[in-house]
């Protein structure tokens, strides 16, 4: 199903995304914000160094207030992860974990920073020899083989479904799935073998991965393990749009003072653009990105 055209789409509802939504929507742009507040770095934090709040404030409270404020300017929120982005004829299209497509004139990356490594024995040793961090890149190398995907969220669930097209057996190892109902239905009705309430303890093999040991002490014989923690990050979602990363660490998206990336209409703000990882920086950049994106969308609409 394809929805209306938005002026500004924002991936991420942490402080950067919220402030961007407030500024873009107050300029009368049609704004949609994707993401789950519980997954913001701020959600469990207590903040004592954010200007004008003398007493420590809870991150959860800030996130709730920010959302209400953005909604009062008519920004729309959808608590889903984005699993795919594309740019075609000057428009961005975004696919949610439930499979819905949204289109926008400009796009803001406010996804924060994500932890991508499992940090278990064997992970580093077998990187590139059975341990992979990118289903879209590497699924093709596992034709007819047995693989496991580890993760609780949309990246792992959609990754497991993608791997079904290549691998013989696909296991999904998770503590507890945190995905949309629609995605859960799709997964449940698929051939993916879901192993819940456990986690990976160790990855073993000689030259290549031969299997994994689980926390519940079961072992699984697999040729590969895909580590897909959290939601897809910038590398998985935006690198295919051609966005430039810092060449030293590839961990953050490069922007100029207008929060523009190298791709017209694509902006980034918050932790995703690099340190310091602080709310004050996230809202400052979000403000600029929101204003710039709204103006860009207006110009594009009037062309």
């Amino acid at each position: 199903m394809t929805q209306d055209l938005y002026d500004v789409a924002i991936i991420g509802c942490g402080p950067a995304g919220l402030q961007a939504a407030i500024h873009a929507a107050s300029k009368k742009a049609k704004v949609i914000v994707f993401g789950k507040p519980t997954k913001s770095s701020l959600y469990k934090a207590h903040i004592a160094n954010f200007c004008c709040y003398e007493k420590p404030i809870s991150g959860k409270d800030i996130l709730e207030a920010g959302r209400k404020q953005a909604e009062s300017f008519d920004a729309v929120f959808l608590e889903e992860d984005i699993v795919k982005t594309k740019k075609e004829n000057n428009l961005f299209s975004l696919v949610t974990e439930s499979g819905e497509t949204f289109t926008s004139r400009s796009l803001l990356l406010c996804m924060g920073i994500a932890r991508k490594k499992l940090r278990v024995k064997g992970e580093k040793k077998f990187e590139g020899r059975g341990v992979s961090y990118c289903v879209d890149c590497d699924a093709n190398f596992y034709k007819g083989l047995d693989v496991a995907v580890v993760g609780n969220e949309s990246a792992a669930a959609t990754g497991a479904l993608t791997l079904l097209l290549y691998a013989k057996t696909v296991y999904l190892i998770c503590r507890k799935l945190m995905i949309s109902d629609m995605l859960y239905e799709e997964l449940k009705n698929s051939q993916v073998k879901i192993i819940q309430d456990t986690w990976v303890k160790e990855i073993f093999g000689t030259n290549e991965v031969e299997g994994i040991l689980l926390k519940n002490d079961n072992t699984l014989k697999v040729n590969g393990i895909f580590v897909e923690l959290g939601a897809k990050g910038a590398m998985e979602l935006a690198a295919n749009l051609g966005v430039a990363f810092d060449p030293e660490t590839f961990s953050h998206v490069e922007t100029n003072r207008k929060q523009e990336t190298n791709i017209p209409g694509l902006y980034a703000a918050g932790d995703i653009t690099g340190q310091p990882w602080q709310i004050a920086k996230a809202v400052g950049e979000g403000c600029i990105a929101g204003i710039e994106a709204a103006e860009y969308a207006k110009k594009l609409a009037n062309r």
Partner: protein, 108 residues
Amino acid sequence: MTQGVLDVDDTNFESQILKADKPALVDFWAPWCGPCKAIAPVITELEKAYGDRIIFARCNVDTSPNTPTQYSIRAIPTLILFQNGKVVDQIVGAVPKSHLEEAVKKIL
């Protein structure tokens, strides 16, 4: 001026890389791979700096499946450095430019 990053495939890998008179760095990539796109500018930059002494090449694993199989490649991007037809280093993933440059300097 250097010659730019060379495209190699299953048919000419031996003649262009293994039997080359210079050491070579081969970037195994595919069009659908985000991290491959992210590191491509770094390879181009390194080629400009060292391309007179080292061959910089890229091999599309989608259209040339045999070469990656031969080197047991299971993840992309993978960069392999060759000297006299032998693998001297193999680097997986989007690693920092400084790390790549160090590896390149070792085969100069």
